[in-house]
């Protein structure tokens, strides 16, 4: 496929599912209706932490129209997304861990009736002490929220040391120490989670669900309900947004499966907006401390990063999230010595998990703001400082991440040029400012969530005499456009129109496994699998055509719906005629392609988190206006450059960049998953402060600034047609660029997110009073991190192993996500 001219890839094009979306014909999970369908609602815990003493559902069951009440005892098997954190029950079994934890389910003739019946379920609780914050979790090992984890209410504590930070600090001219806090926030997909379960005419269980990870849901349903996976079919319906919020298997999915099996009738559940705040799995609140050694010229000598994550009530992806807060610090700038310590604690709040930029967003904020402080101190232009220290392409980082293409320097130059950064930085009038920040993100996690040697993505193709190509793949359409990417990759290789490719996706009965829409992995992995399958099909067709035309197969061109001789383009036939020849010659045509990333170079425990086939790079400049009287913050313009390798469909790529910028702005300015702890003397309550889409603030069209984008296309050797991710990376530089721009505008540092007018005004008042003009955490608590694993860096002659690690069984490795 090398060096063939591209006809579809790289051209802006209407996505294949656009028509259905603009006509309202896309069938989201809640749009599905079946005869005899029943409705399910969940009773959720009113207490943040309590033992369940008893549940009496007799009054609810007595209500006419109520068909079933389920409780935890009906599904006692645990599940969870990570093999190391199987800590959830479909419905709480013996205790509740946060306000909103599901306790019982009612299945009734109507949704309203099911809701009303919830009030008739009598649950007796024995309250336990509320653990509301990380500091409390550290100081109160008892009562334990879970009976597993590293200790007390510490879920996971990790420590990794690459090279010697002590030596690095000794070599430094300056050592900077800063603490930052990044508040938790949530995905807020416009579609609330919904699912329908039914038995098919053969009695087989089918689940339609708005899930980003149908494969992992499939495994969880089969496990909890004790079903053979072959007797469970999971279909991922097109989702109304996910952003990571629909990547865990959820109790409600299992509950309706159980109910459908017991009742023999279809059962639907559609969560309310409030319930989505309880499902959460969003951005972890992270407190972090960064010590960074720098030489006078800006060269980094060492970084010591400590993080403390408020995990909420369950494991979810938390172990991976913890490692991710330390994994990607090394891929943007060359860091010779690096030490990372991370700790995740349990608290009585909805569980945190993966949100766009999973775990890397928070430390990136700290790192990029600290770099701005470093540039200020060293009197260097912050863009110039970054250009001096950009990591080298084709290298191994201190923590053994294998980085191929790095377009970061070009990204920096692009935004600096387009924003006229150098003529604005420190030169604009008081109240106006510019800030720069950079980032990097994975193009797919290098390791699967459960350890196995199978492909991460598989594509099957069916070609027949009609000329139609059907592509089957288990990917989940969150809205990002994976169906379009699948079509485009296949159509490009076979030289047909995208309209001649039909995709069948996200159906465990029909499509080969793809691990799901998370970690920006789909384009990379499904794309490569699709290319592989299409190349095989192309070979079969080419062989038959070559025979017929008397031309060497490798002389044939597949383009514009024809197969023809490169030397004599008029000599050829239509793709349909070509398939007829091939079907006659080779029999029914079906091919497969699969993709599995290369094994990571890291061989130490925890090294499974961070490796990726390719890393995208982003730089952003944000221009802000700050009103010194009110602290009011306006975002005037965003300039962003993203190293995408290749934009497969530039319309979609641009949408991902703008959507990422938008979501980053939301996190920077207003989004916050905030809680209220009532006065402990009067109440043990700990509630989500405002579980509503009105009071959980997100940007409207009025707050969204114009965004000036450049997509930098330097194809990556591992990417499909050279493509790298674009769905998450462009979010990361926005928050720090804003913080840096505010400093440029009015000279105050807001070392926490979100950055609100209140905080800016307060910082300005402090500065005016002669105190430091800074809002942010004052100190970092004492955390008992374990002794670090010592891993010599590649330049110290290391081999990717830790020197002090005991050999461990292969399948116990920390899993990547």
């Amino acid at each position: 496929m090398k060096n063939r001219p591209l006809h579809i890839i790289g051209k802006a094009r209407r996505r294949v599912d656009a028509r259905a979306k603009v006509t309202g014909e896309t069938r989201y999970a809640d749009d599905l209706n079946f005869p005899r369908m029943l409705h399910c609602r969940l009773l959720r815990s009113p207490l943040p932490h309590a033992k369940i003493v008893s549940i009496d559902a007799r009054r609810a069951l007595a209500l006419p129209g109520v068909h079933l009440v389920l409780t935890g005892a009906d599904m006692p098997t645990t599940f969870g997304i990570l093999p190391v954190s199987q800590d959830e029950h479909a419905l709480c079994l013996d205790k509740v861990r946060f306000v909103g934890d599901p306790v019982a389910a009612v299945v009734a003739q109507t949704e309203l009736l099911a809701e009303e019946a919830l009030a008739l379920i009598d649950v007796e609780y024995e309250p336990l002490q509320t653990i509301s914050a990380p500091e409390e979790a550290l100081s109160h090992p008892e009562p334990r929220i879970h009976d597993y984890g590293d200790s007390g209410n510490v879920h996971k504590a990790v420590a990794l040391s690459f090279g010697s930070v002590e030596q690095g600090f000794a070599e430094a001219d300056h050592v900077f120490e800063d603490t930052f806090h990044y508040a938790g926030n949530t995905h807020l997909p416009l579609e609330t989670h919904a699912a329908v379960a039914a038995l098919d005419p053969d009695g087989k269980l089918t689940l339609w669900s708005s899930t980003q990870t149908p494969h992992y849901v499939h495994r969880a349903v089969a496990k909890v309900l004790g079903q053979k996976p072959s007797r469970v079919r999971v279909i991922s319906t097109p989702q109304g947004g996910g952003f990571g919020g629909k990547t865990d298997p959820f109790g409600h999915e299992i509950v309706i499966c159980k109910a459908a099996m017991m009742l023999g009738r279809p059962v639907k559940i559609c969560l309310s907006r409030e319930e989505v705040f309880y499902c959460h799995r969003g951005r972890h609140p992270v407190l972090m401390k960064l010590r960074c050694g720098v030489k006078q010229d800006g060269t980094l000598t060492a970084l010591h990063l400590q993080t403390l994550l408020d995990g909420g009530a369950y494991g979810s992806y938390g172990v991976a999230s913890t490692f991710y807060t330390g994994a990607l610090a090394t891929v943007t700038y060359h860091l010779p010595n690096y030490q990372f310590e991370g700790c995740r604690v349990f608290t009585n709040k909805p569980p945190c998990g993966p949100k766009r930029g999973h775990g890397t967003v928070q430390p990136r904020f700290g790192q990029e703001v600290q770099l701005d402080k470093i540039a200020d101190k060293l009197a260097l232009d912050p863009a110039e400082l970054r250009l001096r220290i950009v990591a080298q392409p084709g290298s191994l980082t201190a923590n053994y991440l294998r980085v191929q293409s790095i377009g970061l320097a070009d990204c920096i130059r692009s935004v600096v040029r387009r924003s006229d950064f150098s003529n604005k930085h420190r030169k604009l009038p008081y109240g106006k400012g510019v800030g720069i920040a950079c980032s990097s993100y994975l193009s797919g996690a290098g390791m699967p969530i459960y350890y196995n040697d199978m492909p991460h993505s598989g594509v099957q193709l069916k070609l027949d005499r009609s000329g139609l190509v059907t592509a089957f793949c288990g990917v989940a359409e969150v809205g990002q456009g994976c169906d379009d990417v699948l079509c485009a990759c296949v159509a490009e290789v076979l030289g047909v129109e995208v309209a001649d490719v039909k995709v069948v996706t996200g159906d465990s009965d029909l499509s080969p496994v793809d691990l799901g829409s998370y970690s920006s992995r789909v384009t990379m992995m499904m794309g490569n699998a699709a290319i592989a399958a299409a190349e095989r099909a192309r070979e079969i067709v080419a062989t038959a055509v070559a025979d017929k035309l008397g031309v060497a197969a490798d002389q044939l061109v597949f383009a514009q719906g024809r197969v023809f001789d490169a030397a004599a383009p008029e000599k050829g036939l239509s793709f349909r005629e070509a398939v007829v020849l091939a079907e006659a010659a080779a029999g029914t045509i079906g091919t497969t392609g699969s993709y599995k990333p290369e094994k990571p170079a890291a061989l130490f425990k925890g090294g499974g988190v961070g490796p990726s086939p390719a890393y995208s790079y982003t730089a952003a400049v944000v221009e802000v206006s700050v009103d010194p009287e009110t602290g009011w913050l306006g975002i005037d313009k965003v300039f962003i450059a993203h190293d995408i390798g290749r934009a497969l469909n530039p319309t979609l790529a641009r949408g991902q960049v703008e959507g990422s910028v938008y979501m980053g702005l939301g996190e920077a300015l207003m989004e916050e998953q905030a809680f209220r702890r009532l006065p402990p003397k009067l109440s043990s309550a700990l509630v989500h402060r405002t579980p509503s889409i009105l009071e959980y603030k997100s940007l409207t069209s009025l707050e969204m600034p114009e965004v000036d984008i450049e997509l930098l296309e330097d194809p990556d050797p591992n990417g499909p047609f050279g493509g790298k991710e674009v769905g998450q990376g462009p979010l990361l530089p926005i928050m720090p660029a804003i913080a840096n721009a505010i400093f440029d505008a009015v000279g105050v540092r807001i070392d926490e997110v979100p950055i609100t007018p209140e905080k800016i005004l307060k910082a300005l008042a402090q500065k005016a009073a002669g105190k430091p003009g800074r809002i942010g955490p004052k100190d970092f608590p004492s955390v008992s991190y374990p002794a670090p694993l010592f891993v010599p860096t590649p330049w110290q002659g290391g081999d990717g192993r830790a020197t002090n690690e005991v050999a461990r069984p292969k399948d116990k490795r920390a899993k990547n996500v």
């Binding site: 309203l112 309310s272 409030e274 009110t630 309550a685 405002t690 009071e695 007018p757 005004l761």
Partner: protein
């Protein structure tokens, strides 16, 4: 999806029919005058009236008329009608600015002016679902006995969140109520009581039928609103001013009102008094802003910190007075409120 509880829906075709229906059982009836506040509250079971009396078909209440000396706006006139009314937008600019910043364009297409004036008071402990409120043991406003905003407070501290009321109060509006026993008219400011539960002086058997606003030649009015975003959000502070000056620029008449700072919108006549007989100079504006500041008593029950909401009183009073003075504050408006013009 969230669903409404069961109720009896009554769709009277005339005012007299509506009043008769209301009179039959006022305690168990709610007026559906748009419903964009009532229906969400019902879906969260904050209110569960047995009867809803819809005013949608009561044509008499949907009239908007102007005479030589006053504007008359029927209680059921939609916010969108007010927002897009040309004469209003020049003569009652403050009202139109307030109305056009209520919620969203969709809601303004359904909501009515009477509904906004009677808007239920709001609080983060109250505007929540039944299960959420259960998890805090409920609050004084509904099913509980503690005001969680200030646990020693003898009264409910839920906040008045109407944008239209301060704007209309500054404009000197009167409101008319009809009931089966007759008609009465009071200054709009007398409709409100500083109690999050009993926030209206209106009797349950009364309908708010008409708003009368005097026309004052040369009067200028403005409304400034603090909130996080340029749409959707309820006010965290509303400042309404109306000023009439003579040809020499001396203030003949002035009125200021603050919204979202207590359980009722407050007419700050003592602040207005500072302006009357004076030119509208920077110093007078500064004094007015200083005087308004201590009158605002925001509490911790809405978005943004209460110290910030209080601090913004000075800034918004200043901006609003500068706007009626004729200063070009359009950029400030755009920046703070993200609104056009």
């Amino acid at each position: 999806m969230l669903r409404l509880p069961e109720f009896q829906l009554l769709l009277p075709q005339s005012l007299s029919e509506a009043l008769a229906l209301l009179q039959a059982d006022p305690e168990h009836s709610s007026i559906l005058a748009g419903g964009t506040d009532l229906l969400p509250n019902m879906k969260r079971r904050q209110q569960t009236p047995a009867r809803l009396i819809s005013l949608r078909n009561v044509k008499e209440l949907g009239q908007l008329t102007l005479s030589a000396d006053e504007f008359c706006i029927g209680g059921s006139v939609r916010l969108r009608t007010i927002e897009t009314h040309e004469t209003l937008s020049t003569e009652l600019r403050g009202l139109v600015q307030a109305v056009s910043q209520i919620a969203t364009v969709h809601i303004r297409g359904t909501a009515t002016i009477g509904g906004n004036l009677c808007l239920d008071t709001r609080c983060e402990y109250y505007n929540q679902s039944q299960p959420w409120r259960q998890s805090i043991g409920f609050c004084k406003k509904k099913d509980g006995d503690i005001c969680w905003v200030a646990t020693s407070s003898p009264r409910c501290l839920a906040v008045s969140s109407t944008d239209a009321a301060p704007a209309l109060m500054a404009l000197g509006a009167q409101v008319q109520f009809c009931s089966a026993s007759g008609l009465r008219e009071i200054p709009l400011s007398a409709l409100y009581q500083n109690d999050g539960i009993h926030y209206l002086s209106k009797r349950p058997d009364e309908l708010l039928t008409l708003i009368r606003i005097p026309r004052r030649a040369g009067q200028r009015s403005a409304y400034w609103k603090l909130r996080r975003r340029g749409s959707f959000d309820f006010p965290l502070l509303g400042v309404a001013v109306a000023v009439q000056r003579d040809e020499a620029g001396t203030v003949q008449h002035a009125q200021l009102a603050l919204g979202a700072v207590s359980s009722r919108p407050i007419l700050v006549e003592e602040v207005a008094a500072l302006l009357i007989g004076q030119p509208l100079g920077d110093e007078q504006i500064r004094q007015a802003a200083e005087a308004a500041y201590p009158l605002a008593k925001p509490m911790d029950h809405a978005d943004m910190s209460l110290s910030y909401r209080k601090a913004m009183v000075k800034s918004l009073v200043t901006s609003a007075l500068r706007e009626v003075r004729g200063d070009d504050v359009s950029q400030d408006r755009q920046r703070l409120m993200r609104v056009l013009g």
